[in-house]
Amino acid sequence: MIDYSKILAKTVVEIKPSGIRKFFDIANTMEDVISLGVGEPDFRTPWQIRSAGIRSLERGQTRYTSNRGLDALRQEISKYVERKYSVSYSPKSDILITVGGSEAIDAAIRAITNPGDEIIIPEPSYVCYEPMTRLAGGVPVIINTQAENEFKLTKEELLSAITDKTKALILPYPCNPTGAIMDECDLSAIAEVLRERDILVISDEIYAELTFGSKHVSIASIPGMRERTVMINGFSKTFSMTGWRLGYACGPAEIMKEITKIHQFAIMCAPTTSQYAATEALRACDEEVEKMKEEYDARRKIIVKGFCDIGLECREPKGAFYAFPSIKSTGMTSEEFCEKLLYAKKVALVPGTAFGESGEGFVRASYCYSVEHIKTALTRIAEFLRQI
């Protein structure tokens, strides 16, 4: 009999499994559950994009691409990033096409982290940064962003987390789960610190196109930041291409060379069909993206008003597709609230603590659902609040 606890990699075994998973495993066994839990667009990938993918399959374009990805796609990315975020990246040396933004984040962390390096991670944020940092041998340093600051990362918070071991900051804005964004002012403030202390930035901008009322600003466009930033973006959220698994990383050639090395050995290349489809997405789908964004905006307004109307304080999220209402008025913990709500009214929300300790007292509700679905969920939550 093998004793697996003795043979598996310690670092991996010690990583806590995602808290969200167990929750959804339970929710999935129940009937008639209304979920506001999933962080995935409910729109189908726009037809033009699917069509481009299908055409490439019909033509038999099913073999490896170069490690960095299709030339045509990297050129479109270069144009797109220049047009949207005013940062220049050379298609040849500064851009890498990856298996989702996820692979880009992982490879970027691995490319820059020496054992013992500290990586600053603002929370509440997406659950992958901490485990990825640990797997790379780094030390995660958590900053608990505050609701009073709209969950933005402040200069002061950053300064207090920096030590002489700090290698990089992970900057996840627009943010899952808080919906927070950082504008030019906010970014300039922390950029000053980052330049001074010579800290790198891994900027997860996967929700860059989902900002409401303002245009997304990339920290790479702030003076002095391009040379120390890896900008990560992708197609999952913007173009509703989650299952196509396609993302990209842009950065200074020297950093991208090393990230590409990891990608080359571990992945070879991102899915070819997805790359062809994505090329079409960047060329021709601005209008489709606008339509989806308008729909998200409508749902965003409805869900925020909905939570406020039933007595749960909910700030207006400026980006991504999540509302992050506070449940502090109920006196329950986030986990307690979500569990009780699930069993009593069969509504699935994600406890804020799944995204970090600073998520305590909050719950995440995604609005990747129809207005009717959202309203039904809100009605049941209201009933639940009256009962407790």
Partner: protein, 160 residues
């Protein structure tokens, strides 16, 4: 006129006024007023439910009839089209480019009823020179709403 409200109503005619107000950042009164004005001016002509009658245990048959029409002097196709539109059995009338002049959708209880309507009413109109009837066997999508149920996609549990 408010195009945003129109688009919302087109998608869901039963959307609550309060929700339209939230999404358009107008007050409920303003929304009611806009809708009322658009109804009066004929921009909004009605609100119809999209029913999958195949699921209901009542018989209903529809046909698309292509008509060739001799236009009347001075009025063109208008007179005939307007006359045909008056029949309750007629769901829609459209003037077409191409080989046929008017396309008419007729609904009745049985194939026979629809055929008789075409033969006894439409075909006998003076300016109608020929009719070609095609029965609708099954509807898959109507007014932008898919009527077919999608199969389980077997994705499994998605967490995150």
């Amino acid at each position: 006129m408010n195009v945003k409200i129109l688009k919302l109503l087109e998608k869901n005619a039963r959307m609550e006024i309060a929700d339209i107000a939230t999404v358009t950042s107008l007050s409920e009164d303003e929304v009611r007023r806009e809708i009322s004005e658009m109804e009066k001016s004929g921009i909004i002509r009605g609100y119809k439910g999209v029913i999958d009658w195949e699921k209901v245990d009542s018989s209903s048959v529809s046909a698309i009839i292509e008509l060739k029409v001799t236009p009347t002097a001075g009025l063109g196709f208008e007179e005939v089209a307007e006359r045909i539109a008056k029949y309750p059995a007629v769901e829609s009338v459209s003037l077409m480019s191409g080989a046929c002049d008017l396309t008419v959708v007729v609904t009745g209880k049985t194939f026979q009823e629809v055929s008789l309507f075409v033969a006894k009413e439409l075909a006998l109109i003076d300016s109608v020179t020929s009719t070609a009837t095609q029965f609708i066997m099954r509807r898959y999508k109507e007014f932008g709403v898919e009527l077919i149920n999608n199969e389980e996609d077997g994705r499994g549990t998605i967490s995150l």
